[in-house]
Subunit: 282 residues, 2 copies
């Protein structure tokens, strides 16, 4: 097991015309017995909006942002990913983030599951956990964020979703949402471990085969395809961000084989079906 | 060892407003003793230029192409990659391609080396081979295509080149180049194996350590980062192409570790230095 931490307090580099000041913490556990790799990033940045970024945000519905830029902003984010050594324990990804301009704050975040094998009880328990968390705020909230997650974690070139979903949201403000979004995002942050740990406990002592491990390594290929080809957060981060903090989400070991097609009726085919056609779970 | 072939004779999907007709062969060898993965793609496509594609080509200096589109075209490409099981044998990537509109033909291609460890004799031999091949056509050709290769296979987020280079070129026509480009491209195709096999022969029976193998798996992470984040051919192919034929270039097994920094004076540091600062080799 290897634990690394970086707390640079560094200049995060150019953001448009001005330099933003910020710091970050990256914390990594590698080669753990259950967690083959676990990584968490925290970053806090302050800067002045460039015209380009302000125009993009304004057009995405943040109406109070001056599209000409020049306003000071603050941003904070916490993200994490757990890649399990056990092929029956799904990968967990989660984040919460805040973007503040003047008195207004927009929140984003989510928590989602990427299994190599479908376990219906795991998936239902995970989604029910997040439905309960959402129901405290708005009856339709879970359904909206579940659909958003299915849409976001999608690999068009494969016609596959990356996993069995969960929650995903962005640009959410209390004014528009009609509830206390900060409280909701705190609940999301607090819910990450409780939503996942029961799944870990159920599987960590189960035996598994080399064939299951090999399938897990192949499925991780899709995980990195999504991250590098499509993920907006990674594309944004690569533009001047700290590369090792961005790529820390990569699975620790990945395999590619040509044109692998699971046997009809196999457990491998079962998970592919749900990745191709998301289901209702809660 | 597993050898797969696909010869679909299939419709390659939408290209702008019209559908192009074409076929492809993908041939893969997996788990070979020397070649952990070897893959070759051949594709031949005929279609009608869309306005979008014609405008892009015309602006890239193909002056005889009508930017409004509508002209028939033909395209053919052969590409291959050899990922060695041995960490002292570099990855070889090569391709030749042709794009034809009316009586005019534009060629592209290249051949480049991605080692995990720097072997100066290998690298010199490889570059000298390609310099000799270029010198038959134009004295400054090798230097131009060597520099093009260094520029193309670059990972800005890492400030690293993917490998030690070779040749890379695109949009080359006999009219502009002032020599017989078709003959040159045939020489490139014929030279791929002779430029690489002596390197394989020198190393294939050398012993290697687990640490060297692990370093190779980490370096393959950079290979896939380049392919998925930056490679133009892959981005183009993902837009309607056959995904398994595109992703066949992926290394068979890849590892990521956080913030790996080679020891000063180590062989791992030596290769990093040349990836950060390309050298003259021929």
């Amino acid at each position: 097991m290897r634990v690394s931490m970086k707390f640079p307090g560094e200049d995060t580099g150019p953001e448009g015309n001005v330099r933003a000041r910020g710091y970050g913490i990256t914390c990594v556990l590698e080669d753990g017995q259950v967690l083959e790799k676990a990584a968490a990033n925290i970053s806090v940045v302050r800067g002045t909006l460039s015209a380009q970024r302000a125009a993009a945000m304004s057009s995405r519905g943040r109406g109070s942002i001056d599209p000409k830029g020049g306003q000071p902003y603050a941003a904070a984010a916490m993200s994490l990913v757990f890649h399990s050594a056990h092929p029956l324990i799904p990968t967990l990804r989660a984040d919460v983030r805040l973007f503040q301009v003047g008195d207004e704050a927009w929140y984003g975040g989510g928590c989602d599951l990427t299994p190599s094998y479908l376990d219906e009880a795991d998936t239902q328990q995970f989604h029910r956990y997040w439905k309960d968390a959402c129901d405290k705020y708005k009856p339709e909230l879970y359904g909206e964020l579940k659909d958003w997650c299915d849409r976001y974690f999608y690999i068009p070139a494969r016609k596959e979703h990356r996993g069995v979903g969960g929650l995903f949201f962005d640009d959410m403000s209390s004014g528009e949402a009609g509830f206390d979004v900060e409280a909701f995002v705190r609940d999301v942050g607090d819910g990450i471990l409780p939503s996942w740990l029961p799944i870990v406990e159920r599987h960590r002592d189960q035996p598994f085969t080399e064939a299951q491990r090999n399938w897990q390594l192949l499925r991780r290929g899709r995980y990195i395809e999504f991250n590098l080809l499509y993920d907006r957060g990674i594309k944004f981060g690569l533009d001047g961000g700290r590369i090792e903090s961005i790529m820390v989400s990569a699975p620790p070991l990945i395999a590619w084989k040509y044109n692998v097609t699971p046997q009809p009726g196999s457990a491998e085919e079962e998970v592919m079906r749900v990745l191709q056609q998301p289901r209702a779970w809660a």
